[in-house]
């Protein structure tokens, strides 16, 4: 195996001498030796050891975080339940509603128009009174609420014998008050007279006297305050006659 020699084709000098460079044999050539600025080699592409600083890992973590965040936002946006008031106890019409009577509940209404019929739980104007009776667990509709109803209603106590009261009457029931006149002239008519129509029972305490069942009961009904004439007529009629409460609906 002979050492290889090499020639280079190169310019001819003016004198005609062939210029050539012998480059092959050991140590003759090369523009670089260690430390002498040897020509650089491009870096090799190599397999990388798995590292926590791998950009792909960071990108993966970022994708997971972003999707979690987006999912939370999406679910929050998709939550279309509304918080409305529900009634904690049976309340009669005319009752002044305050927050203690109510519990917030979350419900989902099928149509947006439906939600507007109910009072959202964020909102309870002071001095709200019930215009109708509501019972435990019912959602509080806007239609059942009125403003400052207390001064518009006169509470009229009626004392009557226990058997003249429908069984199970309780606050909120709407009743008519009939009187059978006691005096002869009136009795000739052979007809009882309805003195109050469609009034609401505000209170009907059980006649639980300490000594035994009482024969009379008190029932308080609400009469619109502006119907003073009706109150006066009713009081007169109630004074002499037999009073009967007739429940309606």
């Amino acid at each position: 195996m002979s050492r290889v020699s090499a020639g280079t084709y190169s310019h001819t000098t003016p004198s005609g001498a062939v210029t050539a460079a012998h480059r092959g044999s050991a140590g003759s050539a090369g523009d670089g030796r260690p430390g002498g600025g040897s020509p650089p080699s491009p870096p090799a592409r190599r397999v990388r050891r798995p590292s926590w600083r791998d950009p792909r890992l960071l990108a993966g973590l970022a994708i997971v975080a972003v999707s979690v965040l987006l999912g939370v936002r999406l679910l929050a946006a998709a939550d279309d339940t509304t918080t409305v008031w529900s009634v904690a106890a049976d309340l009669p019409a005319g009752h002044a509603v305050d927050a203690g009577d109510l519990r917030p509940v979350e419900v989902r209404f099928g149509s947006p128009g439906l939600a507007e019929r109910y009072l959202p739980a964020t909102d309870l104007p002071p001095g709200t009174v019930l215009l109708q009776d509501v019972s435990t667990g019912e959602m509080l509709p806007r239609a059942a609420l009125g403003e400052g109803g207390t001064q518009d209603v006169a509470e009229l106590p009626i004392s009557l014998s226990a058997e003249s009261v429908p069984v199970g009457v309780r606050p909120g029931h709407v009743v008519d008050v009939w009187v059978t006149p006691a005096d002869v002239a009136a009795r000739q008519a052979r007809e009882a007279v309805r003195v109050l129509e469609g009034v609401t029972v505000v209170a009907a305490p059980e006649s639980a006297g300490a000594l035994g069942p009482s024969m009379t009961r008190q029932v308080v009904v609400a009469v619109p305050a502006e119907e003073e004439a009706a109150i006066a007529r009713a009081l007169a009629a109630l004074a002499d006659g037999t009073v009967v409460l007739v429940g309606r609906g």
């Binding site: 190169s10 062939v18 210029t19 050539a20 670089g32 030796r33």
Partner: protein
């Protein structure tokens, strides 16, 4: 038959200078005689193989002319004189093995150059390097550096651990601050790239020999085909498929070796196992698959022979050592016995005595069998040293000590490196 006159072949590829050249070569006063005007390279090679011509005058632009064909001509005893044209001058093409170069404007000189051209002629000795065409490629010029050392890692058939040792040794040399080039020269499918986890698909070896064959390989070109793996360690990756060994022409590979010497302080070559020479018939040269192995062993400053420690490995090692002594009698041999393990029941003295029954190596080294360390290194694509302290790394360090004779080596540096790497490995 020819008397004192030199037999000349001319292959001018139709160049305009041919008429003038023929007048200069075959005139009445010429000291040469024209044997044949060849029409192409094949004609030239065939005619040269008859062995009658002493000189071939070849146009630089002759289609197919490369370092390999020059090498063929030389092996037939024909010196090559190239007539350079404007294009080859511009490209600065360098062909290995050319005895003389004459410019096409100056072909009268052939009358003097051709009879004097011989195979052993050193063109460089006759002429001063003045050409500006070479300046930018030559750098600081010849002779300014001592040549790098060629360390061949060879081993007999089987898988004694040639590549593992070559990679470990190269990494060790690089860690000591020696500029090292690791060349995968295994003609049977090298695996250096896999050992170092290199993903580049391009074969550095094929790229470099292609440059060498076309005469364009210099230190810069070699550096560009190599890949830097870490500080002071470059790798020339091997054949992508074993059957592409044909492309590694012997002349080009030899030029690659000499260029590598000029590029790096140490050139570590991972060789194939076979030393077999394909028989040459009728002067034609058949391709030599094992030229990379044999040619490297021939010029290597150091040969590290790797063998397994088991009975099969040692038997092959013994045969390999004998075979190697026949092929390359002069190489300085160091023997590395790999995968030494206690379960084999042989002491180092017994193995040493067995090896020394065949050759007297400059040194013997015993590499312990540490499959876990090697596996970790392979799986991470890093040299064994990166996995921390191990018997294998220490044995490689011992081998590097013997190769370099390096008293300046400070172990403290490696301790620091080891500690740092241990943190990232585990």
């Amino acid at each position: 038959m020819l008397g004192e006159r030199t037999g000349v072949l001319v292959a001018a590829a139709g160049a305009a200078w041919e008429v003038e050249a023929l007048r200069a070569l075959a005139g009445p006063s010429a000291r040469s005689v024209l044997l044949k005007r060849c029409v192409d390279l094949s004609d030239l090679l065939a005619t040269a193989s008859t062995g009658q011509a002493r000189v071939a005058v070849v146009a630089a632009g002759l289609p197919g002319l490369d370092a390999d064909s020059v090498s063929h001509l030389r092996s037939a005893g024909t010196a090559v004189v190239v007539v350079a044209d404007a294009r080859s001058r511009g490209a600065g093409v360098v062909l290995a093995g050319v005895s003389a170069v004459v410019d096409e404007t100056d072909v009268e000189r052939l009358a003097a150059v051709v009879p004097a051209a011989t195979l052993d002629e050193d063109v460089c000795g006759e002429t001063e390097e003045t050409g500006d065409a070479t300046d930018d490629r030559e750098g600081s010029g010849p002779g300014s550096h001592e040549p790098g050392r060629v360390v061949a890692v060879w081993g007999p058939a089987g898988a004694p651990g040639r590549t593992t040792l070559a990679v470990t040794l190269a990494a060790e040399l690089a860690a000591r601050g020696h500029d090292t080039l690791l060349v995968d020269a295994d003609g049977y499918g090298g695996a250096v790239a896999q050992h170092l986890g290199i993903l580049d698909e391009v074969s550095g070896l094929l790229g470099a020999v292609r440059l060498a064959n076309s005469g364009r390989l210099d230190a810069r070109g070699l550096a560009a085909t190599a890949r830097e793996v870490r500080a002071d360690l470059r790798v020339l990756t091997g054949l992508p498929r074993a059957d592409r060994w044909v492309e590694v022409r012997p002349a080009a590979f030899d030029l690659l070796l000499t260029t590598a010497r000029s590029l790096c302080r140490y050139v570590v070559l991972d060789l194939g196992f076979s030393l077999e020479q394909d028989p040459q018939s009728y002067g034609s040269s058949v391709p030599q698959r094992n030229h990379m192995t044999v040619g490297t062993l021939d010029v290597a400053d150091e040969v590290v022979v790797v063998g397994g420690a088991d009975p099969v490995g040692l038997a092959r090692l013994a045969r390999g050592l004998v075979e190697m002594r026949e092929v390359v009698p002069s190489a300085t041999t160091r023997v590395a016995v790999n995968r030494v393990r206690a379960s084999l029941g042989w002491t180092e003295q017994e193995v040493r005595a067995m090896v020394e029954g065949f050759v007297t190596p400059a040194s013997m080294h015993f590499l312990p069998d540490e499959p876990a360390v090697v596996d970790r290194a392979l799986m991470s694509g890093r040299p064994v040293q990166d996995s921390g302290d191990s018997g294998l790394a220490r044995a490689a360090a011992g081998l590097a000590d013997a190769l370099t004779g390096d008293p300046t080596w400070v172990p403290g540096r490696r301790v620091r490196l080891r500690r740092r790497r241990a943190g990232t490995t585990r």
